[in-house]
């Protein structure tokens, strides 16, 4: 197995699948400004996926480009986190999923800009600037909703209770990460978890939200073992290329 290719697929699929999830809100946001915000963030994530999967295709060296990787793989070949494929739910669910992910992504890109792999460092330095905007947006909403009305508090607390089980997977590592850490491609990866925990705790304190006590966890995405939601996402995401192979507009 090519560890670099595998890691790029993990990183790229996180952006692709969450970008697709947010694109589902186009025209369906709770208010116009948030509709536009969600689709802006979606566009940034799909742009990141383009850059990452393009590079993955080059690394693989079998002639697949970013479109082939996005549109023509089967569900088990996707290596995104289970968190990012979870349904949009209500606005609290969308925002909580985004916040948990943005906080992780910001800390990850903070490290990857120092990667000795120039292409990864370049992609990260570009994406980091946008991720800071995303995180500010989602963190402010977590606080507004959590420390808002009884209804908004209860609903976003419920979202946190539902999504918390997917967060240990953010820090999943196996032989792929181990190899890339050893050769300097992934610097500082082990520091991220404790920083993430203390950051989200600080935001939840301000939002008057509590982290669920049971520490049941769900993982599998990094190995291609997904929740039932991914298949439905791919059915929509891949429809045109499956129905009309090679179509362009």
């Amino acid at each position: 197995m090519n560890a670099l290719f595998e890691y790029l697929i993990r990183l790229g699929d996180d952006s692709l699948i969450l970008g697709h999830r947010l694109s589902e809100l186009c025209g369906h946001g709770p208010i116009l400004e948030e509709d536009i915000a969600m689709t802006n963030i979606s566009l940034d994530l799909i742009g990141q996926a383009t850059n990452i999967l393009q590079y993955a295709g080059e690394v693989e060296g079998e002639g697949r480009n970013e479109d082939d990787l996005a549109f023509l793989r089967y569900a088990r070949d996707y290596k995104n986190l289970l968190l990012v494929e979870q349904p949009n739910g209500d606005f609290g669910m969308t925002i909580m999923r985004q916040f948990l992910f943005d906080a992780y992504r910001k800390l990850l890109f903070d490290r990857l800009i120092y990667s000795n792999n120039e292409q990864i460092a370049a992609i990260a330095s570009k994406a980091l600037k946008e991720t800071k905007y995303h995180l500010r947006h989602s963190a402010e909403w977590v606080i507004r909703l959590g420390d808002g009305t009884e209804e908004s508090h209860n609903r976003i607390q419920e979202s946190l209770n539902t999504l918390w089980r997917y967060t240990p997977e953010l820090f999943y590592q196996d032989e792929v990460e181990a190899e890339l850490k050893n050769n300097g491609v992934l610097p500082g990866l082990d520091e991220i978890q404790s920083e993430w925990e203390s950051y989200v705790k600080q935001i939840f304190d301000e939002a008057t939200l509590s982290i669920p006590e049971n520490n049941w966890k769900m993982e599998g995405g990094r190995k291609g073992l997904h929740s039932e939601h991914l298949g439905y996402i791919l059915a929509e995401l891949q429809y045109m290329q499956r129905a009309y192979p090679g179509m362009e507009w």
């Binding site: 566009l43 330095s125 570009k126 995180l135």
Partner: protein, 161 residues
């Protein structure tokens, strides 16, 4: 043989498809022009990762140069160093304002939550009494503001560092 300054001056006639008063040079999207033998290589960088205008900009550059008899052209997309609004030329900022888009100003650190949004001058009536409507706007590079004096909504080209 064609000279680099000739290429630069032709690039000053290629406009950004989403903000059509700015050229790709004003915007700081063109990073380098090199002449290698008879071949022209141009580096461009996206403002935002997902900016859908990049392909169009690349095509427009090819078209402009080819109209002027320069056809052996390669356009490279480079991501590093990452684009910043500091690369927007002073002339570009002036043109933005005349077009009705408020140009970028320095903003507080994005890790500060609920910070006061930057004070932006209304490009229509020049009032300082304006409010942020949304940090996200009609394109990735803009935020939405509204003027409290003349009530006009307007775009603000947000600061990216």
């Amino acid at each position: 043989m064609v000279k680099a300054d000739k290429i630069w001056s032709l690039l000053e006639e290629v406009f950004d498809p989403e903000v059509p008063v700015l050229t790709v040079v004003d915007l700081g999207v063109v990073r380098d022009v090199r002449l290698i033998g008879g071949k022209v290589e141009i580096d461009i960088t996206p403002t935002y990762t997902g900016c859908p205008a990049m392909q169009r900009i690349e095509d427009d550059i090819h078209e402009k140069l080819s109209e002027n008899g320069i056809s052996d052209v390669k356009v490279n997309l480079v991501l590093s160093p990452a684009w910043t609004t500091d690369w927007l030329s002073d002339n570009g900022k002036k043109k933005l304002e005349e077009y009705g888009i408020a140009p970028p100003v320095d903003e507080p650190d994005k890790s500060v939550l609920f910070a006061d949004p930057p004070k932006i001058k209304c490009p229509k009536c020049s009032s300082d009494n304006t409010k942020l409507v949304s940090q996200f706007g009609s394109t990735a590079c803009k935020a939405q503001y509204q003027c409290n004096s003349c009530l006009e909504p307007f775009d603000y080209f947000k600061c990216l560092k």
